[in-house]
């Protein structure tokens, strides 16, 4: 599984490697450790959506280490950079998906069009294949045909979808889904929610309510709350993560659509500022195009 994941990540990052991060590698390919190197590195990191603040911080840290450790070889400086980048992504609590419990409840949230429904389908398929019994809750009752979309995916992933009518109360859907999960002895419930901009006060309140309903039904639920983030998102992703963390305590990020040319460098900023880890990455439109996030593979993949 892991080997496969690693391969796929580096596949999908191949395009980036030939562009932005590829330039980083060539940056470290020859020449000297001088101001020009740091300037170029700054430019390249910003262009990868890492963000100004995180970039400056990262470079400063690497520079200091290079001086302190008396590093003269470019290759060694690159290793330090990789280490520090990885550090921003690590140091977070481990995933809570696999802990033994009656039923694991996962709430999936995000802004409109980030890829929540597709991600849920992939996760459902991923865990069904591992022998878990998955139930999907179609709690996006707002967007036209979102329920139909989830139902089609449910069929493909071969798992039950609990759904109500369009515009029904999403809370009731969650309630029913958890109830039927308990009676059917399912062990994983994935809740699909309507996309919402994190600045919409009422919609965020609604999400908090869903969280509350889950918690009343199943002890300590939701056990994971995942923010699905489009890899092409720029610095606004930080604001998204901050708002969703404040209102529904997200425990992880799913970086979706990593098969384009964008590489989601903003997850470094999210890791640095909020300590929220990346759990999965989405790398295509197929139901199997998802894999657990591996920070080493991710950073390595970026450098080629």
């Amino acid at each position: 599984m892991f080997g496969f994941g690693k391969k796929k990540i580096s596949d999908s990052l191949a395009r980036t490697r030939s562009s932005v991060f590829g330039q980083i590698t060539s940056l470290f390919g020859g020449g000297e450790i001088d101001d020009e190197l740091w300037d170029d590195l700054e430019a390249l990191l910003i262009q990868a959506d890492v963000g100004v603040e995180t970039t400056m911080d990262l470079i400063e840290t690497v520079r200091q280490r290079v001086t302190r450790e008396g590093v003269t070889k470019l290759a060694d400086a690159q290793s330090i950079l990789k280490e520090e980048m990885q550090r921003l992504l690590d140091g977070n609590n481990a995933s809570d998906f696999d802990r033994e419990r009656l039923v694991t409840v996962v709430l999936v949230v995000g802004v409109n069009g980030s890829g929540k429904t597709t991600t849920i389908a992939k996760l459902a398929n991923y865990y069904q294949r591992q022998g878990r019994k998955v139930i999907l809750a179609a709690a996006d009752t707002f967007r036209a045909a979102a329920i139909d979309q989830l139902k089609i995916w449910g069929e493909r992933a071969n798992c039950t979808v609990i759904a109500h009518q369009p515009n029904a109360d999403p809370g009731a859907v969650v309630f029913d889904a958890l109830k039927s999960a308990l009676s059917r002895k399912a062990d994983l419930v994935l809740i699909d929610t309507a996309g919402r901009l994190h600045t919409k006060y009422n919609l965020m309140k609604e999400l908090e309510k869903l969280r509350g309903i889950a918690g009343k039904q199943v002890h300590a639920a939701p056990h994971e709350t995942l923010l699905v983030l489009d890899a092409i998102t720029g610095q606004n992703a930080l604001s998204q993560a901050r708002h969703f963390k404040d209102s529904v305590a997200i425990t992880g990020v799913v970086l979706a659509k990593l098969d384009g040319t964008a590489k989601g460098g903003v997850v470094f900023a999210i890791g640095r500022e909020l300590g929220v880890p990346v759990r999965f990455v989405g790398v295509g439109e197929g139901i199997e195009d998802i894999m657990p996030f591996d920070s080493k593979a991710f950073v390595d993949g970026l450098f080629g």
Partner: protein
């Protein structure tokens, strides 16, 4: 909480004198902040570089004005350059033969289907007869989504089985439009990556078969640095004619719009500003420019202040404030100055962060135009009913004087007391401001109103 460019530039400039010309060093200091603001707004790195060079050329050596601060002067130049880059709004091209075909394309999840419905509604409102076309056969239930939206708006949707190829569906749709007297055809295509050659080729086939007047890229306003490459990719392969920026109702600065404009040169046509089908706005370069700079509509505020405020009055008040000699007479003068600038709530709305603040307030009535105006009028009436002696030295106000003032202003003694306690609080604050650092902050505050 929300640090905006205005504040930052004020910080840069508050050591400078207000006479003479902007020096190269001053401009560079200011432009460093501008650069950061643009990068934080997700404007592409390379485009920021070119942009800064242009602003620099214009800003160095300009003569400083008395009415606005150097910071504001730089912002004005930055803003003007942004407007030039963003270009004017352009209407949808409805020239040539009917039916007019509008093709919407873009990455997955950028908002094509929602935008298609919004556009259809927009055209129906202006007495056109649009036909929606479900050409996204890839995403599960995408066809169904458009059908539902069409039903909600009572606008017909052309759809076929998802096994039919999109170019064929679109070609059929144009035929249907002709026979059904639809003069506008809106094609909702599947989301795709600009590097997916097969799918890009499919778009070209649709173009050949339907000859669209408009090929619009639907782009998420939250897009980061990659906006450049995405837009370039689409433009190179299918010749865009315009851009629709979506999800602008969030807090994204929308710097991607600058990037896309800069690399494609195609006009921005509409903004998606909400989830409802009516939430489509014609593009205003002005507002977007301010937003990218993180300034709300503060430019309009600066302009109005420049027009209306009396510089001498403002300066006198500021001096008195700092000397701790600010009295009710000055307070009244300030109030009248502010009133000249128009409705208070309108002004407040222009301030960055104001909307977030009001959202947090439960009693929104207290912030209503009516209430604010009432409050200001009452304050004005009370001070006007005082004698000069009382205004200059409120301490002389005893029970009987207060009663007289209340009667004279048509208020109650309670109202008079409330105003006095507010004023005392203000004075207390001023005393704290007399410390050197705080004093600088206060100066900056006043700069905003000069």
């Amino acid at each position: 909480m929300f640090e905006n460019l205005q504040d930052k530039l004020q910080g840069v400039f508050n050591q400078l004198t207000r006479r003479g010309r902007l020096s190269e060093a001053d401009v560079d200091k200011a432009l460093r902040e501008v650069r950061l603001a643009l990068l934080e707004a997700d404007v592409n790195f390379k485009i920021v570089k070119e942009f800064i060079a242009r602003v620099r050329e214009r800003a160095v050596g300009i003569e400083l004005k008395k009415t606005i601060t150097p910071g504001q002067q730089v912002i004005k130049i930055v803003h003007e350059e942004l407007l030039t880059t963003l270009g004017d709004s352009a209407p949808i091209n409805l020239g040539g033969r009917s039916p007019h075909v509008i093709m919407l394309i873009g990455l997955q999840g950028s908002g094509k289907t929602t935008t298609a419905a919004k556009l259809a509604l927009h055209f129906r409102k202006s007495k056109h007869n649009p036909l929606l076309v479900a050409a996204d056969t890839r995403r599960p239930a995408a066809i169904e989504q458009l059908k539902v939206l069409g039903r909600q708006l009572d606008i017909p949707v052309h759809f076929e089985d998802s096994s039919v190829s999109p170019p064929k569906i679109c070609a059929n749709a144009v035929k249907v439009a002709k026979s059904g007297a639809h003069n506008i055809v809106i094609l909702d295509t599947a989301g795709r990556l600009q590097i997916d050659e097969a799918l890009m080729e499919e778009l070209n086939q649709i173009k050949v078969k339907t000859e669209p007047q408009e090929t619009l890229l639907v782009a998420d306003s939250m897009t980061g640095q990659e906006a450049v490459r995405v837009a370039e990719g689409f433009h190179k392969q299918v010749d865009l004619t315009g851009l629709i920026l979506t999800k602008v109702d969030g807090d994204a600065r929308g710097g991607a719009a600058i990037s896309i404009r800069a690399v494609t040169g195609v006009p921005i046509k509409f903004l998606g500003v909400g989830e409802k089908s009516s939430d489509l706005e014609v593009f205003h370069p002005d507002r977007l420019a301010s937003r990218i700079l993180g300034m709300g509509d503060i430019l309009s505020l600066i302009e109005r202040a420049e027009d209306v405020l009396d510089e001498e009055v403002a300066e006198r008040s500021a001096k008195k404030l700092l000397a701790g000699k600010f009295n009710l007479e000055d307070f009244l003068e300030q109030l009248q100055q502010i009133k000249k600038m128009g409705p208070v709530t309108k002004m407040l709305e222009m301030l960055p962060g104001w909307k977030d603040m009001t959202r947090a307030v439960k009693d929104t009535d207290a912030l209503s135009e009516e209430n604010m105006e009432k409050q200001m009028k009452r304050t004005e009436a009370i001070i006007s009913s005082m004698t000069t002696k009382e205004r200059r030295n409120p301490k002389v106000l005893n029970g009987s004087r207060k009663k007289r003032i209340a009667q004279g202003s048509g208020t109650t003694v309670h109202d008079v007391n409330q105003l006095l306690s507010q004023f005392r609080q203000m004075q207390k604050m001023m005393k704290q401001f007399k410390k050197p650092r705080a004093r600088q902050n206060l100066m900056n505050m006043f700069d905003g109103f000069r």
